[in-house]
Every structure is written in structure tokens, then in C-alpha cells.
Amino acid sequence: MDKYQFLITLAGVIFSLGLLGVAVRRNLLVVMMCLEIMLNAVVLSFVTSASRSNTVAGASMTFFIYVAASCEIALAMAIVVLLVKRHATLDLDAHQDLKG
């Protein structure tokens, strides 16, 4: 099997594991970590494409993904701390009263 096809499949496996974690875990912090795993899988697929086509576009896109991830985690952690302050738990089921 081609190494690029292997890496794209690996990215799919890692993305699926992240999705699985988001769906099955009840802890808010671990769900955030699984979202980061999904973002890492996207970065892996971009890097694989950049390496395969030998262009800078894919590698540049990873830079913007890193910027978005940094913003996302800064905001998300602030929201997690506020949610825990309000409901006194990290359990996702306790936050079902949130409406968009």
C-alpha cells in the first residue's frame, strides 16, 4: 500500500477516535481533548497532501488550523471554567439546559 494512502487512512482512524471520544465521554475536559484529536487528524491529512503534491498550500493551511485551535482552546477553557462555576460539575449531562 502507498504510504500516503496509509497516512490518509491513519488520519481517518484518528479522526474517528476523536469523534468516538466526543460521543461517548461524559467529562467536559476529555471531550475538549477529543476535539483536539480530531483537529490533529485534519492537520495530518493536510500535511500528507502537502507532502504528496510537494506544494506549500497544505502546510500553510496547517498554520491557520493552529491559530484557530489556539483561539478555540482559549475560549473553550474560559467557558468550561464558567460552566463548572455555574453547575459545579464537569458532567455533560448536567449542562443540558444550555440553549444555543
Binding site: 496509509f6 465521554r25 477553557m77
Partner: protein
């Protein structure tokens, strides 16, 4: 040799991702996530995309995980969600998680669609990448800095509003 390293670090990345989902304590999950990200950085270095490997270590492993670890330290580790780890969506989620990589595996591998331009792995050295990046993507770079600023301001506002309200 390259194939061996890709297999080794790919296996490590998958194992550490499984650990993130399985372990009970968030700090252990965070450590597994760090190991997962380092494994991916090793794959990028093996593919000669050193710039992204450096970004991965500097931004993800350092900056993002510092946020995570600080938040874990702020919160109580005796929460109920640590004892009952999994929700009722385990089996449907497992089926979807298996279907995604299988569908990718079955995709036809048509490498003729990508025509590689001239230039080898030296295209991804830091100097060459920085030159190409600032020549082509300077406007996107400026937008990204504005996005970062908005992110910092939003986080600060969210915390301030939460504390006041």
C-alpha cells in the same frame, strides 16, 4: 526506514488517542494527548515537513496543552463524570467510528490526480517555507493575527462577564 518510522509513530499516535478516551483521570488523558501530538510531530519530521513538526511542538504541545493543564488544575477531580466515564451512545458511536476509516480504506487510490511540481523536500525547510508563506499568504497571516486578538479578547470578556454576572 521511512516506512518503519511512519508505521511506528502512526501506531503510537493511535494507541495514545485510545488512551485519551479510556483513562479515568483528565491529567493522565492530557499526558496521553501530549504523547499523541509528539507522535504526529515525529511523522511530520519523517515526511520532511519540518516546519509543521516545529509548529506542532511549539503551538499544540506547548501552548494549547498549557491551557488544558491549567484548567485541569483549577477544577475538582472528584467529579461524578470521572467515575462514570461513558455515555449511553457507546455502541452507535463505535459503529460510526469503524465506518469512517473503512470507507477511507476503500477509496480508490488515484495518485495521477496530483501532479507534483518541481522541487524536493527542501521546499519545506523553514527558510523556503517562510519565504513562500509570506509571499503568497501575507494577507491570510494578518487575518490570523486579528483572529488571535479577537480570541484573546473574547476569552477575557467571557471570564469577566461570568465573574460579574
Amino acid at each position: 526506514m521511512e516506512t518503519f518510522f511512519i508505521l511506528l509513530f502512526g501506531t503510537a499516535a493511535v494507541l495514545f488517542a485510545v488512551l485519551v478516551i479510556m483513562v479515568r483521570q483528565p491529567m493522565r488523558a492530557a499526558l496521553a494527548l501530549v504523547a499523541h501530538m509528539v507522535s504526529l510531530a515525529c511523522i511530520y519530521a519523517t515526511l520532511n515537513v519540518h516546519v509543521v513538526a516545529i509548529f506542532q511542538i511549539l503551538i499544540y504541545v506547548s501552548a494549547v496543552m498549557v491551557f488544558m493543564v491549567y484548567t485541569i488544575m483549577l477544577l475538582d477531580d472528584r467529579d461524578a463524570s470521572f467515575q462514570q466515564r461513558f455515555s449511553r451512545w457507546v455502541y452507535p458511536a463505535l459503529i460510526v467510528a469503524v465506518l469512517i476509516p473503512v470507507s477511507l480504506w476503500l477509496l480508490p487510490n488515484d495518485s495521477s490526480a496530483l501532479v507534483a511540481p518541481a522541487g524536493g523536500p527542501e521546499r519545506f525547510t523553514f527558510a523556503a517555507f517562510a519565504f513562500d508563506f509570506m509571499k503568497t499568504y501575507w494577507f491570510h497571516f494578518e487575518l490570523a493575527t486579528v483572529l488571535l486578538l479577537i480570541g484573546v479578547l473574547s476569552a477575557w470578556t467571557a471570564v469577566k462577564e461570568g465573574l460579574d454576572g
